[in-house]
Point group: C3
Chain length 453, copies 3
């Protein structure tokens, strides 16, 4: 079995990015929502790549302050003009229907219809994306041009949807590592025909899971393919007593466009995931953005709610709301890019690689330096002004390994690369000069065993 | 009853500034000192606006390392030349006499007189202000031009003053709020005919008190009109066992000139008053200065002495010693400005408004977000890229209200205005989503009840 | 007896620098190593200036992970060409022999000899300095030009050295002060004919010790003249139970060149020595460098190993490896400069002066200011805008002396000079307004008495 390090170093980002793009293209036509057959089908297609457990949470299930809503399904929807022509047609784009619209079958004049139409005047050719999950109403979304083309007269309006007791579907995949501590990867899978938001996250998560499945892992990796907001809330509610296992986490969203990578910190701001992501982005050689946590965005809102405060950050390229194609029909297959998808995936691997190897060691000869030379770890002849970076890295690791510093701490303090520092630690462990620190069980307050003590 | 918020938003700064200026003009002619009838009369005139308690502390009273001095009063003082002309005349300006001069009645040649004359060569037309509170001596202050005009000859010197057992006068006004915790507002009232230093402070404090008297207050507000140094020392000495009630404080001095507002931090440097003042000045839209504490200046020296270390800052416009008119006859009625006085007063209100409302709340649904939509707190249709700032503020308040963050913390972290954040908290409390944190009694070490425990 | 302050203020830096340079010239020809007669003779010459205790640590002594090596001595060494000419000659420069070369007496062709020759192509005229302390081998160092001039043919190679059981020599000098707490000054004395590295350190340490010997000292001062690495390791091993006494320390190396002074922080980074050195360099009026700790350099590597973590910094001019003359024959008597040596010595005195006087005091009248005027400590007439810096310093010292702040803290917070602050403290102590804080015994974990408790 290979390691994440090997994967991260050898990954053909463009090739894997192309697979992601193909998968996005496959999923694009499906009309997803926070419940229903579109979501179920999407999760089903992911499960052809990785052995997902598919959960169905019944409508009416209580999840903290929320209730799992009735299941929404839609077969067809249109608006016909007086000549019987479909002037708005769900079959052409599932964005045309306000997501979660109640069924409707009626005739009405344009003036009444208008109250149910949404368009986006800044971009007159785009269909906007609107939802109404928790209020029984209906509507259509159209481009500004379409709107302007509607002539006065009587219209036939039909939405052939159902809103009935059923269930909320999500997919979960746990890759066990040598420890029970987990890294959570979460993506929302509820948006209809929108590519960057968030077929990109689904595709990258799927192929990440597929690659990691062939790896020797320290951490366990938990992948979630869930509807936004209600999905993470339901999952948190069902899994509350296991949350102490989550040591790091990433929400993946809007991760396929051509913009620079953008990392949004966890609410903690200095969690290991925050530092690992910063390290990888800083050393990527590309421009990047790092932003502080804010309680607006994707499911990190729930993971980072104050009662959980999980160390979960978010990786995006151009974040939600910051690209003009966002939540419009312009977020299409051309807007996402194979190279960008592959780059996002390889940066995830690089971040996990840091986390897997970011351990604390203890110098076994903490009083003075150990004699590296007698172990063949030091250049033969003294007096040189330069020290090879490997020797320097060994000295840094020995000096800082007092049981408080991680290898990432040492890399950042020394200015040496994480890999160089890590390699030095490996050599020192081999020679008995370093020992891994007995793992501190940083169980959260949620841990029932902690609560007892 | 109105609130400070309403006051702060509705105040007609120029109108109130004009009242301040009028009051300064009324008080200007009085010859004040650290004791005596001038101080008594000044405090008396303040008491026509607000129901002051007037205290008289007898000469000889011990106050820590200090002793309340004998009371000084003066009726007249002059220097006559050989032709009997008053060449220096107390009736023209009370600055002409060194404050606290012992009585004198003598004839002497110019050479001897000169040893008792003070002038300010940099500003040849100004009379400087000098004091000699704790050393029995006498002197006259004159402009450089006056000094140069003195011809050789015999002079008659007379200071008709008394220095006898009496008392030190100060005025105190407590406005009770719903809690016993206090905000202290202190100004020195001992300087003779000098406007910015510190009739400005007296006037602003008087009208602040008058306005707050009509308000619904959480904190109690304590106003002190005291002679500088010995006054605050005497007050601290007499009130030592109640000092734990002072949660915030402001010294008002030199607050009427046309310069930018200047806040000097408390010795603690990060007290709530320091942060509230910084917030208000930063968001004022005007230039401002914030300086670190130093043990030189006004009565904050005593409030912030290490044995008390009270959270008391100082609000000024151009601080003492930093304007050339300082402690000279040029600090007159033209040097202070109605608009500046009104602006200073309104900034005090704004600071108090922040303090009154800067509370800690606890999210009652800390695990995941509560469902705002079902309470009518969220826009009807989802999918928009922007969130209204009110929604965003609710999410921030919910996310950060874990029992450690104040509303000001949240405003600063989110970049949202304090008012927006506060309004969000009010709405959330109304919907049962937020509860005020049980007030931590931050009693100081001076609290006898704390000392017992 | 004089004080360090007096010394620091009165020192004739150039005169003392000339003495340092003369001493360097005296020591230059000796062939030193980490053991042997050259080191022994060097320490002996230092002991003519100061009453050193000379220690001999037998070969084979265990010191943590290290073993004291056999003693190395050398009488002669050369390479003769086929005409019997000494083409490489130890008598001309002791750098020509790889330090710690085993004896050799052989004939060989140029091709074989070449495998034992070292040169420095970037500087074709310089002989490089090489060592092989812990590997039995031999070699010669030559300039690039010398190397190029060697013709084909048979060479006679001879190194008349011995590597036998003996001892490692070091010199130690303890100057007792009024407390047992120590300041450690350490320099490596193992390099052969190289001036900046580190005859400069030896000379400055010697004359510092000589000057301090005539002083009234609070701290005890311990001077070490030791071979690099193995010397400090041996000393730490032999003195482990006394290390808690070391409260501050300086390694002196490369301290005689014309570059700016450079201070390398201790591993702690904010130890008193780090702050005192920073204060002195900042106020020196000259450019300077301050660098963070790194585990590469001189004996601070051992003092700052994690098991000891002693507060020991390093003072240099241009540090090791950062000047092109480093470890070559160009680090000669011209490369070091009397003025630079004297300046380095006087900066050491200034740093020790700060440490000697950097005490914590407690204000005896902590509630309000004490009345300075009645003690004659305040100007007679009030009202001036300026306060003399001495009055200001008294106010700062009184305000900050709550038992937590050192005089250096106060100097840095106030922006006043350390001397001004210190002088104010002296005056306040004389008037009973300040008392020195009962010294906190900051014994390290190494202290056996601490370990018991």
């Amino acid at each position: 079995m290979t390691t994440i390090s090997n994967l991260a170093n050898a990954v053909d980002a463009l090739a894997i990015g192309r697979k992601c793009h193909d998968f996005i293209a496959e999923l694009f036509p499906i009309c997803r929502s926070i419940t229903g057959n579109g979501l179920r089908e999407t999760v089903g297609r992911v499960s052809k790549h990785i052995p997902l457990t598919i959960h169905e949470v019944p409508s009416g299930t209580q999840a903290f302050d929320w209730t799992v809503p009735r299941e929404w399904n839609i077969r067809d929807a249109y608006v016909k003009n007086s000549r019987g022509e479909r002037v708005i047609d769900f079959q052409r784009s599932n964005l045309h229907v306000v997501n979660y619209s109640v069924p409707v079958s009626a005739k009405m004049p344009l003036s009444e219809l208008r109250q149910h139409l949404f368009c986006s005047p800044e971009y007159p050719d785009r269909i906007p994306y609107r939802t109404s999950y928790y209020r029984d109403t209906w509507g259509f979304c159209v481009s500004q041009r379409q709107m302007e083309g509607l002539e006065e007269g009587e219209y036939e309006v039909r939405i052939d949807s159902t809103l009935e007791n059923g269930s909320l579907t999500y997919g979960e995949f746990l890759l066990p590592g040598t420890v029970e501590d987990e890294i959570l990867i979460s993506c929302h899978a509820c948006h209809p025909s929108l590519c960057n938001d968030n077929l990109s996250g689904i595709a990258v998560a799927t192929f990440l899971a597929k690659m990691l499945a062939g790896c020797q892992l320290r951490y366990s990796y938990r992948f979630l393919f869930i509807p936004g907001t209600i999905g993470s809330i339901a999952w948190l509610s069902l899994n509350e007593r296991h949350l102490h296992r989550i040591k790091h986490g990433l929400v993946l969203s809007c991760i396929g466009d051509r913009g620079a990578l953008s990392y949004k910190k966890s609410r903690r701001g200095d969690a290991d995931i925050d530092r690992a992501a910063r390290y990888v982005l800083r050393h990527s050689g590309h421009s990047y953005n790092i932003t502080d946590f804010s309680p607006y965005g994707n499911d990190e809102r729930q993971y980072c709610s104050p009662g959980f405060n999980l160390p979960v950050g978010r990786l995006s390229r151009t974040p939600d709301g910051q690209f003009p194609e966002y939540h419009t029909s312009a977020d299409d297959l051309n807007f996402v890019d194979a190279a960008a998808l592959g780059d996002s995936l390889s940066k995830c691997l690089a971040i996990f690689d840091v986390l897997e190897n970011n351990r604390i060691f203890v110098n076994q000869n903490s009083k003075c330096e150990p004699q590296l030379g007698k172990r063949g770890l030091y250049r033969a002849f003294g007096g040189y002004g330069d020290s090879a970076s490997q020797e320097l890295a060994m000295l840094w690791v020995l000096n800082q390994s007092d049981g408080t510093n991680t290898l990432l701490d040492i890399a950042e303090r020394s200015g040496l690369g994480f890999d160089v520092v890590r390699q030095a630690a490996i050599v020192l462990v081999e020679h008995g000069l370093l020992r891994e620190h007995a793992r501190e069980l940083t169980r959260s307050a949620l841990d029932p065993e902690m609560a007892r003590s």
